[in-house]
Amino acid sequence: MIPGLQPLPEVPWGPIIGVYFILAGMAAGTTLVAEWVAPQDSRTAAAFAWKTSWVVLVALMLCGVLLIVDLGRPARFFLMLTRFSNLGSAMSVGAKLIALKGFLLTLYLYLLHRRRYALAAGDVALAPGVTRVAYAVVPLLLAVASLCLAAYPAILLARTWFAPLAACSGAALLFVTTALLMGAAVATCAASDEALVTRLRDVMLFLGAAQLCLLLLAGLALYGGAPALERALAALIAGRNAAVFWGLVIGVGLGLPLVALATMRQQYLVTMASAVCLLVGAATLRFLIFTVA
């Protein structure tokens, strides 16, 4: 926005919604990355999925709490889940996506609970029939719901007048990559197996590089675009958000961890620190897409 040009009314959504977008992205990304890097060994896979799924459940519950706080009372949140009269509303679909993911996640945790008991009893093979199908289908549906949830803020914000960056052609992809980066960071912190950490290190390197390229392409798409888009780009890279963008998103959030991951591959602490940096950078970028106008 042009400095000194303050519109009325105020932007209707505050930082609570920004934090909600971050947590929803983290929850979605963690599920996706956990599925992506799932170890071959049944015991390690079950333990890893168990741990990451609990993190995701906590993040989803926090999302619900944030939305209830923002709306004022729980009944207002549940109204969005129970009303089907306007399924063309991005917010209506989003609320139902969160509920669907919560349901699938609970189901998956139940399956994982049974699986862990079975593995502990030495029963490695899955029973044929419904059990085998459930163990294959539930994580798949969970991944699909998570992918939708990761990209969902772009669809929601593109319908608003105050988040022009979300309406640009790379926004949905950026929301997906930021979610995946946050998910990879969380998964890295949750992983206890060395081979898994090594795999996640490569995943983070790939996602970080992809994010850098996507940011460049999104910048090109914004440059020379509609006036509102150009103003948003200027505010992001040279305006009042420039320090946060260059410092946290590019420097701390991408540059530093990518160099560290590429050059000091074997050091566990470096990997963990890089994961935290990537998490901070991706979360900040999601928040900036929401706030920069």
């Binding site: 306007n86 991005a90 917010m91 006036p227």
Partner: protein, 220 residues
């Protein structure tokens, strides 16, 4: 079925705020929020400075973004085309406010629900005119059925060149303006320009908004 709309003749608006006051009184609108107000926009510089008065309200758009945004179905279009909010169904998620390019919706600080101009649906259903139309001393607002060729509004639309606020938004507003001086273009693109008359000591927003249409003319 009627397709109700409003035509506002900016040539005759004197910015008296009779419409705003009538609307406030009709709906008991709390302090600090408006369903209908008049923006003052300054253009040019001395000795050729001009001030325009632009009444703004919900545009009851044909392609209403608020209608599509509402996740609970609280915003509906009634048979005559007026868009209203069912208070009981509103969960104050504010997506309608975020989607409306005209900033026409607000959260009522007393009732804690989204509210906006209804074209005085309770009055028009009984064949009466909206409160703002009745109150206008210059008769610059004309309300009626846009599809009825014999209606005053339809005749005046035919006889004049009309425009809408933010046609680029693609919302097809039912509030039209006769605006030969192209004053609407000077309203800021995002949000709604602050009414400088509402400036009060210590309110930085109003001081900025006064010069919003001309960012280069900040007060020294």
């Amino acid at each position: 079925m009627a397709r109700l709309g409003m035509l506002i003749d900016l040539r005759t608006c004197i910015g008296c705020h009779a419409c705003s006051v009538a609307c406030k009184a009709e709906f008991d609108v709390p302090l600090g929020v408006f369903r209908d107000t008049v923006k003052y926009v300054e253009e040019g510089k001395y000795p050729k400075a001009t001030r325009h008065f632009i009444p703004i309200l919900c545009n009851h758009c044909e392609e209403a973004p608020c209608l599509k945004a509402c996740p609970t179905g609280a915003i509906i279009r009634v048979e005559n085309g007026e868009i209203v909010i069912n208070k009981g169904d509103c969960n104050v998620n504010r997506f309608c406010m975020a989607a409306c390019p005209y900033g026409a919706i607000y959260v009522d600080p007393e009732e804690h629900v989204a509210q906006k101009c209804t074209f005085c649906e309770h009055r028009t259903a009984q064949g009466m005119q909206p409160a703002c139309v009745e109150a206008c001393p210059m008769r610059c607002r004309i309300f009626g059925d846009l599809d009825d060729p014999a209606s005053t509004i339809a005749q005046k639309v035919r006889a004049n060149t009309t425009t809408v606020w933010k046609p680029e938004a693609g919302t097809k507003p039912r509030v039209m303006y006769i605006d030969p001086k192209e004053a609407l273009k000077h309203l800021v693109n995002e949000g709604i320009q602050v009414d400088p008359r509402a400036q009060m000591a210590g309110n930085p927003h109003t001081a900025q908004g006064t010069y919003a249409a001309h960012p280069g003319k900040q007060p020294q």
